[in-house]
């Protein structure tokens, strides 16, 4: 590595070998100061004398963290700009863009603090990624001669980072909005309340909103029940398609229908489930069974696809060895292939559970939508009976924008309650996101384990 590259850190940068660099640096510095100003002001406010007198230690810590988070964007802004300038030397255009971002950040900060915070965290993330990336490529030859090509690369990289930023941004934003409402009581209280759209608001009492545990249990029960149906069906279909079927017309028809089923919008599955299980021939009312069955219809293609892929990824040598020992086909499948593909199959099941957890409209239509008034968690026996509303996180969350859209002309006290419900729904979404991410992480770990085992690395 070139020693000069190592020295040219922040200090070398500000000494300025070129005027242009100096200009960009000062522009970035100024925009950083502008961006951090709300945070500094907030910090001064909460450190002023009356602030000390009133606030407890906890709120002081919260306030300080809060303002530090507001200052963070300026640092992030600075680092992003610095790294980009250094590695691409785009000069003027880049500095103007970054100043634009800074101004936007300040405007957003004044309009909506949470959004500003989220953008700040995202900038920090992008900067970290950029620095990581740069350290690796620092010694390498730069192969892009023109500004157009540099700009194109920059745009590509930005859109690559956008995916991470969208996910992390949603997580951070929801976490910030949810943080005042997340408490031990909220997480463990099984009483729950929700309301019908626009009609009854008695479910929300201003004193207690109930907890989220009831919803989480309901969601997990539904997802588990749906996997109970979809897993054997999906695994059987996957084994047939991967091991037994030959390439003929029938197989291609089966595949075509699996793809069609995967493409059917969930609202249609929900509607048919509603018509058949809830009000139609079966007349079960909203129930765990009806909801689970309808969800299973939706999840089945996922299960088949992932299980088939993981069965197909088992090397042929496993099968040949088993056949050579005199095993029949079913014995081979059961004892050699399935065992090797097990982590992949578990991945499929977990992803299916994740999708079922996040599904809303099917659940709302078949497993229960909007009871009125506060409720307690149904007992174990009740949950499995018909005509029983199953509380689910997604429907609980969904009610928030619907209530808000209906409550435009309501009285102010009602509106306050609705806004409180809305904030609690954001807290509920945070819980849902965490559950979903945990399941996804487990699925990814299982799949990595499979690929490591099969490739022998």
């Amino acid at each position: 590595m070139n020693p000069r590259l190592r020295i040219s850190g922040i200090f070398g940068y500000f000494k300025g070998k070129r005027k242009e660099n100096l200009l960009i640096g000062s522009l970035l510095f100024i925009s950083g100061i502008i961006a951090s100003s709300p945070g500094v002001i907030h910090l001064f406010n909460c450190l002023s004398s009356d602030g000390f007198a009133i606030s407890t230690f906890n709120t002081l810590i919260a306030d300080t963290t809060y303002s530090l988070l507001l200052i963070l964007p300026s640092f992030a802004l600075f680092s992003v700009g610095y790294v980009l300038c250094e590695s691409h030397s785009l000069g003027w255009k880049l500095s103007i863009t970054i100043c634009g971002v800074a101004v936007l950040l300040v405007v957003v900060n004044y309009l909506n603090v949470e959004l500003g915070l989220t953008i700040g965290v995202l900038c920090g993330l992008a900067a970290t990624l950029e620095i990581l990336n740069r350290k690796k490529t620092a010694g390498r030859l730069k192969d892009s001669p023109t500004i157009t090509e540099n700009l194109a690369k920059f745009g590509l990289r930005l859109s690559g980072l956008a995916c991470i930023c969208i996910l992390v941004g949603m997580l951070v934003y929801v976490a910030i909005r949810a943080s005042p409402y997340i408490s031990w009581d909220f997480l463990t209280n099984t009483n729950w309340s929700w309301t019908t759209a626009g009609k009854v608001l008695s479910g929300i009492s201003s004193s207690s909103m109930g907890g989220v545990l009831g919803f989480a249990i309901g969601s997990l029960l539904l997802a588990g029940f749906c996997e109970l149906i979809a897993f054997p069906l999906g695994l059987g279909a996957a084994i047939y398609l991967a091991e037994y079927s030959s390439q003929n017309k029938l197989t291609s028809i089966v595949r075509f229908f699996i793809e069609t089923l995967a493409g059917i919008p969930s609202v249609i599955i929900g509607l048919v489930g509603y018509a058949v299980f809830v009000v139609g021939a079966a007349h079960w009312g909203t129930s765990l069974a009806g909801g689970g069955l309808s969800l299973a219809f939706m999840i089945l293609p996922w299960n088949i696809r992932i299980a088939e892929e993981s069965i197909k990824s088992v090397p042929a040598s496993y099968r040949e060895a088993s056949f050579a020992l005199g095993a029949t086909q079913w014995q081979t499948v059961r004892k050699a292939v399935l065992l090797a593909a097990l982590p992949g199959i578990i991945t499929g099941v977990l992803l299916g559970v994740g999708a079922a957890l996040g599904e809303t409209i099917v659940v709302a239509m078949t497993a229960g939508d909007a009871p009125t008034g506060p409720q307690v968690l149904p007992s174990l026996f009740q949950i499995f009976s018909f005509h029983q509303i199953i509380p689910t996180l997604t429907v609980f969350i969904w009610r928030a924008p619907i209530l808000l859209s209906f409550s435009t002309s309501a009285s102010s006290s009602t509106t306050n309650l609705v806004f409180k419900y809305y904030s609690v729904a954001l807290a509920g979404s945070f819980v849902l996101i965490v559950m979903y991410l945990v399941i996804c992480a487990a699925a990814l770990v299982a799949r990595n384990y499979l690929s490591k085992k099969l490739t022998g690395k």
Partner: protein
Amino acid sequence: MNSKLFKENFVKAILFLCALSSIGIVFFIVFYMIYLGYPIIINWFAYGFESGVLNILPYMFDSLYLALGGTILGIAIGIPCAIYLAEFADMRLRNMVKPTLEVLNGFPSVIIGLLGFTLFVTQLGRFGLHAFYCTLVGWIVLGVMSLPLIASVSEDSLRAVPQDLREASLGLGATKWQTTIGVLIPSAFSGILTAVLLAFANAIGETMAVLAVIGILVPAPITLNPLSQTNSITALIAYGYQETSVGSARYLALFAAGFILFIMTALTNLAVRAIAARRNRMVSVRTNRA
């Protein structure tokens, strides 16, 4: 030995039944919709979509318009992302972004809808209206939802382009960017098109995210203005099923609307299948020639 053979065949039969189950489910769903909605469907196809109990035409148009805008937004970010991941990114970044795309792909749509509502509907509402429900916000939300699918499928197809093509182009003195634009994208075009069409079909059928950002149903005329309030077939069904009494004409019309929605998504999926078949044929021709 005979019992062993019997067992083998028995297992095979059961597995075959499992494979057939999805055919059964699809037939069940489609026939149920036709069974309940056929007078209205026939009426629509015979006398035009504006006739009958329910004028479905604006809903169809709005669904397609929403999905189109959302997919275009998804393309605008997703395909550059795919190109970057396939051609420019180092392994470490790619190993970070790929799982992110998968996680994002199955992300609970209701949360994306709620965030779209929070960030755009109420924020835009500050500048005048109480709450700013419009097509534009629907596009943004659907764009976020279609981004991971477009990015990951197109990345796979870009990666599947044979290494020879890259080397030949670079050997002729083209830069990496020229190679990407001139060689890689044309040869991965069918895969990218598949990704886009799949995302489009998903966007047509998306319910929750759209529902949160388009607000309550209002009878709106067909308009191309992205700042006006909009509807969709999915929202029609999702709001309608509780408001109509079971067995009424309006209730049956929901099933007819569901059938129309199914036709729209199924046609898109058929197009995907046709493209895939064509690509397979071309690949086999290419390998035969070689």
